[in-house]
């Protein structure tokens, strides 16, 4: 399967009479987009704001971040099973608005929405401070249940990203990257001397606002399976969850999965990137056992030499992570796992909820409990009144002058477990 990603670089975003891309500036017709989102009867009010890198803006509570894309050639469309039909994606050509994103915000859904600061110390911890953001602020109708609210906001993000992506349908990209995965046997014949490596991606599926969708299927209702890496790059997996902001994989993370990219970078040179096994993080022990057995079984079946496992969330999914690692290692396949830590505000507590000596190769996205002070910003998009109660916030987090003292946990994408960031931790 061969996918061409065409990047159109966005260096600024502005409101305009027509939604278009011109001279690296994305112009957005505000009314048109607001009206599109308002078609959803669950919203009382929808507003649109812009936030650019370096501006003194704080966006909170943030639910999802989505990169605008459009299918240019080949089967399927963006966000299959959500916006487009479920045709297989991952081949042909897709154009990407690189350097911008749709951010969904507004009244809190659960307790686990996050903060994006566009400047200051907080901006260093979130990758989304570097993007030109089109922020949807959606207020739900009175009495809407959380899961309905989550769904409405999730779909609003995809709709907006699809709408914006359309501007690039007939444009020539500034840069093109090609990714290809061959059928397994061909790939093995082509690189007989290279170690066979796959990526085991654990999808957040604890339920109750912690869900991930694959071609529209709720991951908790699926068994582990195999997927082409280019399908992930083409939008097959999307976020539908409200797990702590720091280590939830937004849809943007899925579309730009760094493990997929970095394995492709070494493919055919130092390793043979066979494909991706996706598995879930369900809460019942039987589900955990079954899924980790299945993952190890698939890894063995594929004849792998090495596996990279990434996690999403923390606490309960730590057990899935360790089970996957242990069972795959027991098949004689080398593993590296990517996680993050909850070592307490002082860093002195135990970092994970589960451990095993076989997990001897760990990459960490840092300690999510570490506390940071975010200075006041000139402009707030959304509402900071939830800061005391979001995950990572505490009584008195929000100061009178508008500054915020929170754990990194509250910053969207801060300790990402796909290895999206440079942040890490070491022992002292």
């Amino acid at each position: 399967m061969r996918l061409e990603l065409g990047y159109l670089f966005i260096e600024d975003v502005q409101f305009g009479e027509e939604t278009k891309l011109e001279n690296k500036t994305l112009y957005v017709n505000k009314d048109e987009l607001v009206n599109l989102i308002k078609e959803d009867e669950h919203f009382e009010k929808v507003d649109l704001e812009l936030a650019r890198p370096g501006e003194s803006i704080r966006i909170t509570p943030v639910k999802d971040v989505v990169e605008p894309r459009v299918k240019v050639e080949g089967p399927g469309g963006v966000f299959p099973g959500m916006i487009s039909k479920v045709d297989t994606v991952g081949s042909g050509k897709t154009n990407v608005l690189k350097g911008c994103a749709v951010v969904t915000a507004g009244k809190i859904v659960g307790f686990q929405e996050g903060i994006i600061d566009m400047t200051g110390p907080g901006a260093d911890y979130t990758p989304f401070s570097k993007l030109n953001n089109v922020v949807l602020v959606c207020e739900p109708k009175e009495g809407l249940k959380q899961h309905e609210h989550e769904r409405a906001l999730r779909m609003a993000g995809f709709k907006a990203a699809t709408y914006l992506g359309e501007v690039a349908k007939n444009l020539t990209p500034d840069e093109v990257e090609i990714f290809e995965t061959e059928p397994m046997l061909e790939s093995i014949n082509k690189y007989p001397e290279l170690p066979k490596v796959a990526y085991v991606q654990m999808l957040q599926s604890q339920g109750l606002l912690h869900d991930t969708y694959v071609y529209g299927v709720d991951a908790k209702e699926s068994l582990p399976t195999i997927i082409y890496p280019t399908e992930i790059m083409d939008g097959a997996i999307v976020s539908g969850n409200c797990v702590s902001a720091c280590d939830k994989n937004t849809t943007y993370h899925h579309l730009n999965n760094p493990v997929v990219k970095d394995l492709f970078a070494k493919h055919g040179k130092e390793l043979n990137f066979i494909g991706v096994i996706i598995t879930n993080e369900n809460v019942y022990l039987a589900d955990k056992e079954r899924s980790s057995n299945w993952t190890a079984k698939l890894a063995e079946f594929l004849g792998l030499d090495g596996v990279l496992v990434s996690q999403e969330g923390f606490g309960n999914p730590d057990t899935d992570l360790i089970m996957n690692c242990k069972k795959i290692e027991q098949k004689g396949i080398k593993t590296v796992i990517i996680t993050d830590e909850y070592a307490g505000r002082d860093g002195a507590s135990q970092s994970l909820a589960d451990a095993d000596p076989l997990a001897n190769a760990v990459v960490t996205g840092g300690n999510a409990n570490e506390v940071i002070t975010l200075p006041p910003m000139d402009k707030i998009i959304g509402d900071t009144s939830y800061v005391d109660t979001i995950a990572g916030g505490f009584d008195g987090s929000l100061k009178e002058d508008g500054s915020i003292v929170v754990e990194l946990q509250a910053i969207t994408g801060a300790t990402n477990e796909l290895g999206f960031n440079k942040l890490t931790a070491k022992g002292y």
């Binding site: 170690p195 606490g315 760990v362 990459v363 960490t364 300690n367």
Partner: protein
Amino acid sequence: MAKIKAVHYINQFFAGIGGEEKADYKPEVREGIVGPGMAINAGFKGEAEIVATIICGDSYFNENIEEAKSEIIEMVKKYDPDIFIAGPAFNAGRYGVACGTIADAVHKELGIPVLTGMYVENPGADMFKKSVYIVSTKNSAAGMRNAVKQMVPLALKLAKGEEIESPEEEGYIARGVRKNYFAEKRGSERAVDMLLKKLKGEEFVTEFPMPDFDRVEPEAAIKDMSKAKIALVTSGGIVPKGNPDHIESSSASKYGKYDIEGIKDLTKETHETAHGGYDPVYANEDPDRVLPVDVLRDLEKEGKIGSLHRYFYTTVGNGTAVASAKAFAEKIAKELLSDGVNAVILTST
């Protein structure tokens, strides 16, 4: 910058006063340098100076901890030093505990930087490595030269308030503290590099060494439940409506203890969840789903259990540090024991 002032603490043995027979030697301060202080002072090369040495017998210290601590702190205070150095104690157990205790106390009471040194298996190391920088030494005084070589630069850094690097770089015993920093490469690339090394059988360094897990053996089962007093404890965040003690939705810093005397059923009017890690709709509609007071009242009425304890304990398990959870549990368990509770039903989310 003025010359850095150091105060040094040693025991009766290293002061040349005597061995075990002199271990009850009371704290004494001498202006200037005694015993191993010579080597340390020479190592400072004029940048710092030991202005006083405090000598105390190991038995005296360990048998009169409170008095010894306050006497010594008074002595230290008089010299207003920039750094307090104790030992090194090598593998001498009581000396190591004394060095750790007094260094910790000086740091806490006077707020000045402190440093000691000992062998990693010295009981004082485990007791104080979290709060005091302890240079890792050999197990006998034969390692004095090496110990001094490590302690001198670290003492100077601490005195100057400079940033302390990792245990490997500075030579101290790991304190078990995790600190964030920005690496040169992103995590996914570091992971791919690590996997390639592991596949080739090359040496690689994990970013998080797996901890030893604290596994608890379950107690024996209760034989006669009809006489047992049962308590409900939850990490599912059920609290009286309005969360009166403001238990955090995640990374909880406290737990709550609430009276359920006379309550037969938790309802959406009386209780709710403070937990931020799951969709609260079902828990809020009927909090018994997380904290089953209703069922236990039925069992109580039917005589299947002796009684339901008058209080339930609750916290939020969402990202709450294990150390916090352990501290909560220690307090809760103590109270449950003194209230005569025989068994606990521990619910999560």
